[in-house]
Amino acid sequence: MARIRFEAVSKQYGHGPAAVRDLNLDIRDQEFLVLLGPSGCGKSTTLNMIAGLGDITHGALWFDDQIMNNVPAHRRDVAMVFQSYALYPHKSVFENIAFGLRMRRVPEAELRRRVHDAAERLEITHLLERRPSQLSGGQRQRVALGRAMVREPSVFLMDEPLSNLDASLRISMRAQIRHLHAQMRSTFVYVTHDQAEALTLADRIVVMRDGTIQQIGTPDDIYERPANVFVAGFLGSPAINLLEGELSTQAGVPCFRRGDLVVSLPAGFQGENRAVVLGLRAEDVGPPEPDGPILRGVVDTAMPAGSDQFLGVQVEGYMAFVRVAKDSRVREGEAIAFGLNPSRLHLFDKASGRSLRTGMAP
């Protein structure tokens, strides 16, 4: 059981730029924390520091009340699952799973019990005598999970564990990983660049970019109340629409203005002639309501997508994508108006990219 705390941690490789800068992060005991960000954002570096696989240049890393900076990887009660699986090619599946226990001198009977137990839970009992080279990608992933599970570690680290699997397998493995977390009562830290994975799995998500934390919050926080343009753009599929324009006040009501388009905003957004970015998610449009904010445009393309359809709408020179019901009959070239839910509009300062929502942490 472990609470993990980063205190002003920086990490630099050689003389290059810092891979992680001034990281302050408090990971709760038994929490499922997802580090999310594009490649090169420092999320794997952060994970490696927890594992003890990379030195910490500045700052302190705590497990509970112990400083871990100089504790080597093999002395930490940490297990890790790698994107490449990293199974030992010369060992059988059984020995792969048992290896960590052997290194810790777990008695043979206990070791067998734990390996078989894990194998049963992962449904790989029939594979125990095989070599990794004889397994499929999904099976290897299970073995890698098993190898980490049997250790019953207080910290469970996963570095993009599902990236090499095909889409359908990925979904079922997500469920399995959630079960695993529920059963194991360990602190999980999970690195991914897949926002859907993060939203499904996490108790809290840490969005990172260029070695710094952009936002920490529950999946709902991150999705519904992104702290800045980057976070807003990184989550959601299709990507959020970001319309540049101006914030002004019309008859005492704050408005977003872009060319002829005027969208009234809820009270709370303030500023006169301020350059802003309006964030609008594809699913946050509905039928126009008399008093509500309205988005007008011209349908450019209609793309049926099974259960519903996406429309590409030209709005004052910006191609916005919105999701509408499948049965709404629209033709390309037709003028169209949508009602917007004021509480689901996102507004960012153009210069800093920060959310202008009041009471929002920067």
Binding site: L53, P72, A73, H74, A79, M80, L87, F99, M103
Partner: protein
């Protein structure tokens, strides 16, 4: 209109011709390579008179094991020039060094084995460190190690000799072991570095998270995987030591420390040369390397190419 694709059947006879040419070339090459070896073995069981007969007898008429008897049963009086009653001037006799052949073979074995073992003991940790640890001067270390191999052996003979003499190691096996290590370790490190570098870093990291210290990672994960490279490196060190002549000639003076190449070369410097005996000694000299090569054949190719691909 007929749109069926036009099928051009390759003619048969060019393929037959190709096969014949390839086969002929292979046979020629094989004969070129194997004929001397065959002659070596064949003449080692011929009498001196038969060896010099024209045309040569590839298959001996009267095979004899007298040379091998002289080598292996030296204590039983076979080694004296008069033992087989032959005339020393005709060359059909057993040279006096016959008795030294087995001891020198033992010397060669001891030296080669020590060099192999020490090569692996030194080379494996060095290569692992260079391949998998991040430390300042990592590349420099590799280049310096390799640079020592740019200097030809002959240039090193005098410095080596002075060092060995100062250390009081002249005429001892230790002098050979030390100098052979200096020659073989850089190559071993280079081959092993290339091999370790090919192994995924995640394997190293996984083992460390699983509870291995660095030496344990090496022992439990990398060494079992590196077997082909270890065999290639060990074999190379063995052959280099087994065949080495120049340094052994300089550093050893008595039968107590002389190695097989020195003794065999000595046979030719006798007043008259017994070719049949020389060839018998030659057979003994090539036997151990050939046996090793046959035993480890399946490892050698993958081991050496593993080192070769990465520049």
């Amino acid at each position: 209109m007929n749109t069926a694709p036009l099928i051009v059947r390759p003619l048969l006879w060019p393929r037959i011709l190709r096969f014949c040419l390839l086969a002929a070339a292979s046979v020629l090459l094989l004969a070129y390579l194997l004929a001397p070896v065959f002659w070596l073995v064949s003449s080692s069981v011929q009498t001196e008179r038969e060896i010099v007969s024209i045309p040569p007898h590839w298959i001996p008429d009267q095979p004899t094991l007298q040379n091998f008897k002289a080598i292996f049963l030296t204590g039983l009086g076979y080694a004296s020039p008069s033992a087989n009653g032959a005339d020393p001037t005709s060359g059909g006799f057993i040279p006096s060094v016959a008795g030294n052949l087995l001891p020198s073979m033992a010397n060669s074995f001891i030296v080669a084995l020590c060099v192999v073992v020490l090569n692996l003991l030194v080379g494996v940790p060095a290569a692992y460190a260079i391949a998998k640890l991040r430390f300042r001067g990592r590349n420099l270390a590799l280049y310096v190690i390799l640079a020592t191999r740019v200097i030809p052996d002959i240039a090193l003979v005098v410095p080596f000799f002075l060092v060995v003499r100062k250390l009081g190691m002249l005429d001892s096996l230790a002098s050979l072991i030390v100098t052979y290590l200096a020659i073989t370790v850089p190559f071993s490190v280079f081959v092993l570095v290339s091999f370790f570098e090919q192994m995924p870093d995640d394997l190293d990291r996984a083992a460390r998270v699983d509870g291995c210290s660095r030496p344990q990672v090496l022992l439990h994960v990398f060494l079992p995987l590196a077997r082909p490279a270890l065999v290639a490196v060990g074999l190379f060190a063995f052959l280099a030591s087994w065949n080495e002549f120049l340094l052994a000639l300089m550093f050893t003076q008595t039968a107590a420390s002389q190695t097989l190449p020195i003794i065999v070369a000595g046979i030719t410097s006798d007043f008259t040369v017994s070719f049949s005996f020389l060839n018998a000694a030659g057979v003994l000299a090539v036997l151990p390397p050939v046996l090793l090569a046959v035993i480890f054949e399946r490892y050698i190719v993958s081991g050496l190419t593993a080192g070769a691909v990465k520049g």
